[in-house]
């Protein structure tokens, strides 16, 4: 089984978000970049398939050379090979077309992408990728088993979950639940050393149009002071929520 895990290179969850160049670009100054958490759950699940079922696991990212340390980290966690599509990842459809090209050329049986990246939160690349490669699709996936050419996947739905059976090839939009937080792996020294020798192939982007473009960023307006209510007068909170906030 050939697995491809799509990796987004995103600011760490604790990052302060700022913009530059007239609020048109994300300010990377002083920001620590990591594997997108939703992707890391998928990568860790893929490691399980590698160790228990002999799958091969490649990772791919669409981005500039600055994303390579993130791909190296995925290799240190245990992926076999990395591919970087050399292009700026701006429009989701553009990114999905680049990834679809990699999937088609690589003949992958299973593609695991995060449900969404925590930077742009588009949440559309997995579905687009499934449509472009004519693969089956399970989004918001919180559990995955593969037996031969059949997958059993658990999908989170509003207010519950459903269990789905699907043939491969399959594209997964994954999230926490594919593995637990405690299953995530911190690369050890041996993994880091081995990652240096593993192949990281850079390929050129294919021609593709751009369907959307970010024109400006803004930060939310600063918040007003909190209104404190005494713990001895809880009824006042009910009044405020009704009369002032009109929330109840």
């Amino acid at each position: 089984m050939k697995i491809l895990v799509c990796i987004s290179h995103v600011p760490d969850t604790t990052s302060k978000i700022n913009f530059t160049e007239g609020d048109t670009k994300f300010d990377t100054n002083g920001v620590q970049f990591v594997i997108n958490p939703n992707d890391e759950f998928g990568l860790t699940r893929a490691m399980w398939f590698k160790e228990k079922q002999g799958a091969s696991v490649d990772v791919v990212n669409v981005g500039g050379a600055e994303t390579e340390p993130t791909l190296r980290k995925a290799l240190a966690i245990g992926a076999d090979a990395a591919i970087r599509v050399n292009a700026e990842a701006t429009d989701s459809f553009y990114v999905a077309r680049q990834l679809a090209n990699v999937v088609t050329n690589g003949g992958y049986d299973l593609v695991i992408a995060g449900r969404e990246s925590i930077d742009y939160n588009g949440g559309m690349v997995p579905g687009m990728l499934a449509a472009l490669t004519e693969a089956n699709f399970v989004n918001t996936c919180i559990g995955l088993e593969i037996d031969g050419d059949t997958a059993t996947a658990i999908r989170e739905i509003d207010g519950g979950k459903e269990t789905i059976s699907s043939k491969l090839p399959l594209v997964i939009g994954g999230q926490k639940g594919l593995v637990e937080e405690s299953d995530l792996r911190i690369p050890n020294m041996r993994g880091i050393m081995m990652a240096r020798k593993k192949p990281l192939t850079v390929i050129d982007a294919i021609e593709s149009s751009i369907e959307t473009k970010a024109v400006k960023f803004e930060k939310p307006a600063p918040k007003g002071e909190v209104t404190l209510v005494s713990p001895d007068n809880v009824g006042e909170l009910v009044e405020l929520l009704h009369n002032e906030a009109k929330a109840i």
Partner: protein, 322 residues
Amino acid sequence: MSVLVYTESEGGKFKKAAFEVASYAKEVANMLGTTVTAVSINANDSSELGGYGVDKVLEIKNDKLTDFNAKAYANSLKQVVEKEEAKVVIVSSSVDSKSLASILTVYLNAGYVTNVVELPESVSPFVVKRTAFTNKAFNKTEVTAAIKIIGVSNNSYGIKEVSGTATVEGFEPLISEGDFTTNIISVDKATDKVSIADAEIVVSGGRGLKGPENWGMIEDLADVLGAATACSKPVSDLGWRPHSEHVGQTGKPVAANLYIAIGISGAIQHLAGINSSKVKVVINNDPEAPFFKAADYGIVGDAFEVVPQLIEKLKEFKANNA
């Protein structure tokens, strides 16, 4: 050329988000000087949409579409878009709408923007404001593709009732057997609980509650308010509550009208996930907890004393305002 809106239903009943996206579509149609056409799939009473600005409903009734199937739904919507020659399609931000719309985007070579929180800033060029960086920022995006698909964040625009009627026409899409390659084996869904995605009010508990055995008062408070229950990341990691309740940057986003955080300190990742909620209340015994900087209302006090009192006061309030 009308604005097309996909109005989601469940078990034949429209979801609340369907009325919100219909209201949004109405205003976009006004900006473009056109009308609103809705698509419903297996809804009992499509004419209801007239009360939210919809002029015409194309009603799909097909047993094969009883269960959600992203490809089959996307394929059906594609046929409607082509029949209506629609250039703007409005969908909600539900899990299902996001799945089908990303596929529909490919089928139509469209430009799709999710998490949109306001009406378009302009329609030529077509620019919308969306949340990004998990609510730590907004991002204005121009949709350059000829067909534009706009995913509206839940509870962002609100429901606007109007006096109007919608004409209802049946529509029969060609259904391709090839779309049914994923099969639902079983569904596990709490039907008696409000889901976080649909909830107007969310009551959320953190590690300050000390253990899963203390969740009774969170559930009681949620019951009084008709709210959904949620929790912070440590609580879900500790296994006190299921993952499906984890809200925050790596969990579910919350865009409720009212979010009540109990015993949650307010880590930056948690605040990011709930920031789109309109009114935020925090109850915490630590006055230095970062949540007090993000909240509208706060009580510095022991949750085990404050919450039972709050439940009583809310019951009194409900009795007096029934």
